[in-house]
């Protein structure tokens, strides 16, 4: 068995500790100047990565993050970053309560579908009709168009929830509709993305694509119906009979990795298993709030910094900044999401101003978009300039969401 040498292991540990310590310092500094934590962590990655450190001190960069020169450390780090992605998807799933969508009724359904359909159609159409704008190989056009459509239609529940909290509209009708629609966006978006990742190239053929769709549907339906029933029976037992909170944490994380392993083994990406496991566990009324909090803290304070810093380590943001691609992605993202979501909210019976606020609320893509872009980049689906454009789009949409919502909301805010 190939093993890390003591020196490799020291480099591996040094890389992780550097990322964690600097990410924390960056996050604390970011908090002081009003920067979201995720943005600060990505900025740390940009500073530590090829964009800055790799340019001004290439030897130090190579020593800290020897991706090119030491394949063993590179594989170990890559494994850790992949685990981070899986666990981030798991905690994202933990927050998706499907009943919330049903509770908000037709407004949430219309808004949810409106905020997916138009962004998907516009993202797909732009890349299908003008692949040269993105420098994409036309043989891979369908898969890329599907991806860009999905990337445009997804929302970022954690960022949106944070914005609603800050604006004190979390418990209002507008807030609830935004949350419910974001849940729908994320659920459908990740299912679609799992399908895109599993599609492979054009050589895969229609039969295999049919199999992939069947696997994804069967697994999701089974887990969300039968799996949830099983979890509703076993979680109370786990929480009463095993050590608290160790028992439920081991069970939940073990269950997540088991589902991830299963979906990976059937040639559907591991993220689907982790995401659906998160929904199934998080949707259970038997999962104690404290257990949910501990899982979030564990993932967001250890794995999330590793992942978001790794974004900056992967790509040179200056070299790969393409203003045309950034502009196209931003225009399509804003127009598709805001118009689609607002139209859906209007159809669902909301006033014009509230519908616009819903549109800008759902426009925040944040960490989820970056996660999606990173996976697509790792899978070779997109180029570095497109990945950089998606990261910029995620940050811009998240930063502009609150002030634009505020512009349309005057009366909906909760009392101080």
């Amino acid at each position: 068995m190939a093993k890390l040498t003591p020196n490799d292991f020291a480099v591996f540990l040094l890389a992780i500790s550097t990322i964690l310590i600097l990410a924390r310092l960056g996050a604390e500094f970011g908090k002081k100047i009003g920067l979201p934590i995720v943005t600060a962590e990505i900025a740390v990655g940009v500073l530590l990565g090829p964009t800055l450190l790799g340019n001004i001190a290439p030897r130090l960069y190579e020593h800290l993050f020897p991706f090119a020169s030491n394949p063993r450390v590179s594989i170990a780090l890559d494994g850790l970053f992949s685990l981070a992605v899986i666990l981030l998807l798991f905690v994202a799933g933990l927050e998706l309560q499907l009943g919330q969508v049903l509770r908000q009724g037709k407004t949430a359904i219309y808004t949810g579908f409106g905020s997916m359909a138009l962004p998907f159609a516009s993202g797909f159409a732009v890349s299908w009709l003008a692949p040269h704008w993105f420098g994409i190989d036309t043989s891979n056009r369908f898969q890329f168009s599907m991806f860009l459509g999905t990337a445009m239609s997804i929302s970022a529940l954690p960022v949106i929830a944070r914005i609603l909290l800050d604006l004190r509209i979390f418990r209002t009708r507008v807030g609830m509709v935004i949350i419910a629609s974001a849940i729908l966006n994320d659920l459908i978006g990740w299912l679609l993305f799992s399908f895109i990742l599993s599609m492979g190239g054009p050589e895969k053929g229609l039969t295999n694509i049919g199999h992939t769709i069947a696997y994804i549907t069967a697994f999701s339906v089974f887990m969300l119906v039968i799996g949830r029933m099983f979890l509703n029976r076993i979680l109370p037992w786990v929480q009463t009979n095993l050590s608290w909170p160790g028992g439920v944490l081991s069970f939940s994380l073990g269950f997540c990795l088991l589902c991830a392993a299963f979906t990976e083994s059937i040639h559907v990406h591991a993220i689907l298993g982790a995401f659906i496991a998160g929904i199934a566990i998080g949707d259970s009324v038997h999962l104690r709030e404290k257990a949910r909090e501990i899982m979030h803290q564990f993932v967001t304070n250890f794995f999330a910094p590793l992942f978001f810093v790794s974004i900056g380590l992967k790509v040179n943001f200056i070299k790969n900044f393409d203003p045309v691609i950034v502009a196209i992605v931003l225009i399509v993202a804003f127009a598709g999401k805001v118009i689609g979501a607002s139209a859906g909210a209007r159809l669902g019976g909301m006033s014009r101003r509230n519908a616009m606020a819903v549109g800008f609320g759902l426009n925040a893509r944040g960490a989820v978009e970056i996660l999606l872009g990173s996976l697509a980049f790792d899978a070779g689906l997109i180029t570095q300039p497109i990945f950089v454009a998606l990261v910029i789009m995620a940050l811009v949409t998240s930063i502009t969401s609150a002030p634009l919502m505020l512009h349309f909301l005057r009366e909906e805010r909760e009392p101080d």
């Binding site: 009943g99 979390f170 974001a182 009324v285 999330a304």
Partner: protein
């Protein structure tokens, strides 16, 4: 007298009380409960049954009339040829039934629950107010411990008034108004940004916002001597109040009628009232509101 803003209706439109007596039900107990409440509300009692109008039914009704000491005079017996929720509701409409009393198992088998029993389906559509009794008693249930679900909804003030009125009629001295705090997405939002202190502060702020909403809801409701106790609980809506009612040995849980009919998908991805119908913690009064 009572002037809760959004609903302009009498708080207790229980001028006619219907009771459905299925052929296999606990005839004496359910009729005793209905008779007792009809007496308390000075209401007309309509007996809806699915079997033959047996002598036993007449005999039990006579016994209840005697026990009511003159309070229960006006009664009618109606036979249902086809037993389904539509025919039952048609009878209720025909007789202007304000409250329909039904015997309901606390829990139903999985298949029965998912396919939808008559009683549960009536609750899911709730075209008139319904009282679901999991354990009807011949000696009549004592409704002393009444819990009202105080969600943010225009129907809620009317439901609260109805609960207060119900409490007055059945001789209860207080009702507990319970609000559930459920915040999907909050854990993740605060985990990504915020210290434990700021998260606790945030949760406190949200809870205080909810308390303000409850006060706004009940400020126009005269309690008429009934003490209103306010409680805020955390947890999934519907499930949290079900557990609270069970833990506090509630006699009656009063809830709003659903805003839209509940369907199979609402049972698969359970939410709100479906958690209560899934496993009745006590007797449940579903208050049908007509918003003007």
């Amino acid at each position: 007298m009572n002037t809760c803003e959004p609903i302009h209706r009498s708080p207790h439109p229980f001028g006619t009380i219907g009771v459905f007596v299925p052929s296999s039900g606990n005839l004496e107990a359910i009729l005793a409960e209905a008779g007792s409440l009809a007496g308390v509300f000075n209401a007309r009692l309509v007996l809806i049954h699915s079997g033959k109008k047996t002598l036993k039914l007449e005999a039990v009704l006579d016994e209840i009339r005697i026990r009511s000491e003159g309070r229960l005079q006006d009664t009618a017996i109606v036979r249902l040829d086809v037993v389904n929720s539509r025919s039952l509701l048609d009878i209720c409409r025909e007789h202007s039934v304000g409250l329909l009393i039904l015997e309901a198992a606390s829990r139903e088998g999985m298949l029965r629950y998912y396919f939808g029993s008559l009683v549960r389906n009536l609750g899911r559509t709730a075209q008139c107010s319904l009282l679901l009794l999991p354990e009807p008693k011949r000696a009549s249930t004592s409704f002393k411990n009444i819990i009202v679900r105080g969600i943010s909804n225009p129907k809620t003030p009317f439901t609260i008034r109805t609960a207060i009125s119900f409490a007055q009629h059945v001789g209860a001295s207080e009702v507990t108004l319970v609000t559930e705090l459920d915040q999907p997405g909050l854990t993740m939002a605060t985990a990504f940004a915020g210290s434990a202190d700021s998260t606790a502060m945030l949760k406190k702020q949200i809870a205080s916002g909810e308390i303000k909403k409850i006060h706004a809801m009940i400020k126009h409701c005269q309690s008429d001597g009934i003490k209103i106790i306010e409680e805020i609980i955390s947890g999934r809506q519907g499930y949290a109040i079900r557990q609270f009612s069970r833990k506090h040995h509630a006699d009656l849980l009063v809830i709003n009628s659903p805003d839209a009919s509940y369907r199979l998908i609402d049972r698969v991805f359970t939410h709100d009232m479906e958690y209560i119908l899934e496993d009745l913690p006590c007797s449940v009064l579903i208050v049908h509101s007509a918003i003007s």
